[in-house]
Amino acid sequence: MNSPIRRLTLALLIGFCLLLVNVTYIQALATDRYRDDPRNARVQLARSERERGLILDRNDVVLANSEAQAGAGTFVRTYPFGGLLGHPVGFSSLLFGDRGLEQAYANDLRSKQDLTISNVIAGVLGNDLHPENIRLTIDVALQQAASEALAGQIGAVVAMDPSTGAILAYVSSPGFDPSVLVGATAGPAGDALDADPDEPLRDRVANELYPPGSIFKIITAAAALEFGEMTADSTFANPASLALPGSESTISNADGRPCGSGIEVTLARGFISSCNTTFAQAAMEIGAGALKSQAENFGFGVEIPFTFPVIPSSFSPVDLSDDLPALAQSAIGQRDVRVTPLHMALMAAGIANRGQIMVPYLVADIVDGDGKVISSTEPTVWRRAVNEATAAILLELMVQTVDSGTGTNARIDGIRVAGKTGTAENPGQPPHAWFVGFAPADQPTIAIAVIVEFGGVQGDEASGGRTAAPIAKETLERWLKP
């Protein structure tokens, strides 16, 4: 009679072992899947029952708020500026998680009043459990001006303080309104944004690569000055069309004519009038190695240290030493040269800052509930792009470009603006219109990069000078003449 008892005992104990297996699966192996399931009301309550830190602009204008719901004991995340700051503020959403600064600074913004035992004890002892607020470097008025200047065209505007790296405006267009993604019923709104062919959720400032076109001539000119022992007055032949050695292809200028009336043309003239023929010759003279090194000095192929991951810009995937036609095309920012708008703003800022590029940053301070600063970002140097003498020459060339060259649409009365236009060709499609620059030229307080994808509303008629320079002008003016 004992062996049936033993078997029954064994059966029950095997049952308990199976329970152990299931419990371990639920509480140790598949935990994340179940715990983070949006239908798990704990996820929702954890977000809504706790206050989240504020996101402020540089003048303490509230960009992301945590509004207490009367009587409910819950908080709702609101974004008073809606679509203006979807980039870079991002969102804190029940269904879609955190993005942008909401994600990058989630640990600071999260309430300390969570349910770990140490914080419960801290709360009992009367410690301040309010979340921290973050103060951005963004100026919401400048952001507004840049966004209005872009007027709904697809593209990006990024402005920064060249001497510190502080980002002042960060516009990726089209943007999106983070408010619609917050709640538990945001599913359809999120799906619609995901399906939008204009990709409003894509951060065009840091996560889109474009051919730079002629704004790359800043780097080619720098290479000529630093590596090629040339000066602004070095001269080149001035044909209407330049035959590229070892190939059938030619390079010509935007208007199909020579660069001015002379038989010869200086590097300065070529820069100011953005002559492709001049820069193709300069590049072939200094060689692929020099141009590549100069590009690397500006941070090509290097990850930019930033709040968000930035796609590195690239000069060329292959060695161009034996491919002069490709080198000539790369020198004018075509071929395989690809850049992010953020990087181009840094390029301009480097010239403005006497050759030194600062590490860009978005968050100036982390402050507590009473406005007391807990920590601040110290500006740091990222890299030296060119030496001071080269920077001074390039600055002067860029000033003349705006004063009398391709960038006259960026002129501001009474202020010396430095800039360079770019019109990046897209085979079979309208060109991208670029402008990079800074102002005031003598004591720069703002550097800027503007891109309008595929010419914007002007389409095939678009160019850097016609399309992008006015946007830069409006933005710079808002900053310099408030």
């Binding site: 009679m1 004992n2 062996s3 049936p4 008892i5 033993r6 029954l8 005992t9 029950l12 104990l13 049952g15 308990f16 199976l18 329970l19 152990l20 299931n22 419990v23 371990t24 639920i26 509480q27 140790a28 598949a30 935990t31 994340d32 899947r33 179940y34 715990r35 399931d37 239908r39 798990n40 009301a41 704990r42 309550l45 349910l115 770990t116 035992i117 419960v120 709360g123 009992v124």
Partner: protein, 431 residues
């Protein structure tokens, strides 16, 4: 292990229970209140008195069961207090009543031994059947004792004497009575039942006449299920019955026939009743039917997963999001707040209690006591297994209580009596 160690462990369990209540108070930022002292007082009174009664009337009884039961009660009481302090107050009264009845059992059997029960087998059977149909009494009629449907299951009986109103689930007590009856019945008839008279291929079947009781039990169990919509209790009753037949006869035939009848009944129930189909669906794909049938199970899983390895801490999770947390889903609530560590601990305690109970059965020389101990332990173990298995999706969910932990008077009282009986049996074997 000595009786003194048993007493010390009971003291430790009582302290653990009051410590749990204190943690809940701290977590909800209240002052550490009277409930801490009261919990300690009730725990130490109930289990201390039980311990004293064992010292007096069953000094050679197993010293393991009462401390383990006290430990489960301490964890359960803390979690019930955390979910609903009013329920915990009621549960404390039930704990005292249950301990009182356990002591009463020890005293009553102290002179005549468990053999006394053997004589009253048909009284036990009749009261079991009577109790089984009690919930089927009309909900509205002049008599003060009425049936009551709670959450769609007719498992409850309410007694309304004007001054005293109470409700209880007779099923829990029926379990004890049926095991008592069967132990007595089988102790006498086991030889006849084990006799092999016919060969049926590889099977040796007993006389068809001997199969009558098993068929009666089958009809009774599934009858209960059909009328009371109580899958768990009927499965528990039927399985206990088969297990005891198996122990008494050592014939695998009973397992095969029992398994076959169970399968048949289940398939019939599945095809006939939508609520059985619902249960099955909720078991297999709870997350696909989250809004409807899978809600309860999904939320139990969410709770346990949120507890993860070490749990949120007592009073710091959100177990009130679980439906029926203090009763059916107490294990999920504990899992959320005490984590995998707590879940494993609870499972280990149940496995230990099953091992101790079966050990008592193995060592019993007397057939009746052997069957009684095996039956009581099996029903206790299977009940724990079924309800926890329902929560962690090992089995379909059944609405039965988790012994010593779930909120519910009838369950706590009958399990305390069950433990007292096991201690008494082990005592008698060592005299």
């Amino acid at each position: 292990m000595s009786r003194t160690a048993e007493g010390a462990l009971i003291l430790a369990a009582a302290m653990l229970g009051s410590f749990g209540v204190a943690l809940v108070n701290i977590a909800s930022r209240q002052a550490i209140g009277d409930d801490v002292a009261l919990t300690f007082f009730v725990m130490i009174t109930a289990f201390g008195a039980l311990h004293a009664a064992v010292r007096r009337w069953a000094p050679n009884g197993s010293p393991y069961l009462i401390p383990l039961a006290a430990l489960l009660t301490a964890v359960g009481l803390s979690e019930i207090y955390r979910l609903n302090p009013a329920m915990a107050s009621l549960q404390k009264w039930w704990l005292l009543i249950g301990a009182g009845l356990g002591i009463l059992a020890l005293w009553g059997l102290s002179s005549g031994g468990t053999q006394l029960l053997r004589r009253y087998r048909y009284i036990m059977l009749l009261s079991a059947l009577g109790l089984l149909v009690l919930p089927l009494l009309p909900q509205r009629w002049p008599l003060p004792i009425r049936g009551l449907a709670v959450n769609g299951s007719r498992l409850w009986v309410s007694i309304d004497l004007g001054v005293i109103q109470m409700r209880f689930q007779p099923g829990e007590i029926v379990k004890l009575l049926i095991v008592g009856f069967l132990a007595s019945f089988l102790a006498e008839r086991h030889e006849a039942l084990a006799m092999r008279t016919r060969k049926f291929g590889p099977f040796e079947l007993p006389e068809p006449r001997q199969m009558i009781p098993i068929l009666v039990a089958w009809f009774a169990s599934f009858g209960v299920m059909i009328y009371q919509r109580d899958l768990g209790a009927s499965l528990l009753l039927f399985s206990t019955f088969i297990a005891m037949m198996y122990v008494a006869t050592a014939r695998n035939t009973y397992l095969v026939v029992g398994g076959g009848l169970f399968t048949l009944g289940s398939v019939a129930a599945w095809s006939a009743f939508t609520h059985v189909q619902t249960r099955l669906e909720a078991w297999l794909v709870p997350f696909e039917h989250y809004e409807t049938t899978g809600y309860q199970i999904s939320n139990g899983i969410f709770a346990m997963a949120s507890g993860s390895l070490s749990g949120t801490g007592l009073g710091l999770g959100r177990p009130s999001l679980i439906a029926f947390a203090p009763t059916d889903f107490i294990f999920a609530a504990v899992g959320e707040e005490l984590g995998l560590v707590g879940s494993v601990l609870i499972l280990a305690i149940y496995a230990l209690m099953v091992s101790v109970g079966m050990g008592i059965a193995l060592r019993s020389r007397d057939l009746f006591r052997k069957l009684l101990a095996a039956g009581l332990t099996f029903s206790f173990g299977l009940q724990s297994l079924l309800i926890i298995g329902g929560i962690v999706r090992l089995f379909p969910l059944t609405g039965i209580t988790l012994p010593f932990m779930s909120y519910g008077g009838s369950s706590l009282v009958s399990n305390l009596v069950l433990v007292a009986l096991l201690v008494q049996i082990s005592h008698e074997e060592r005299v």
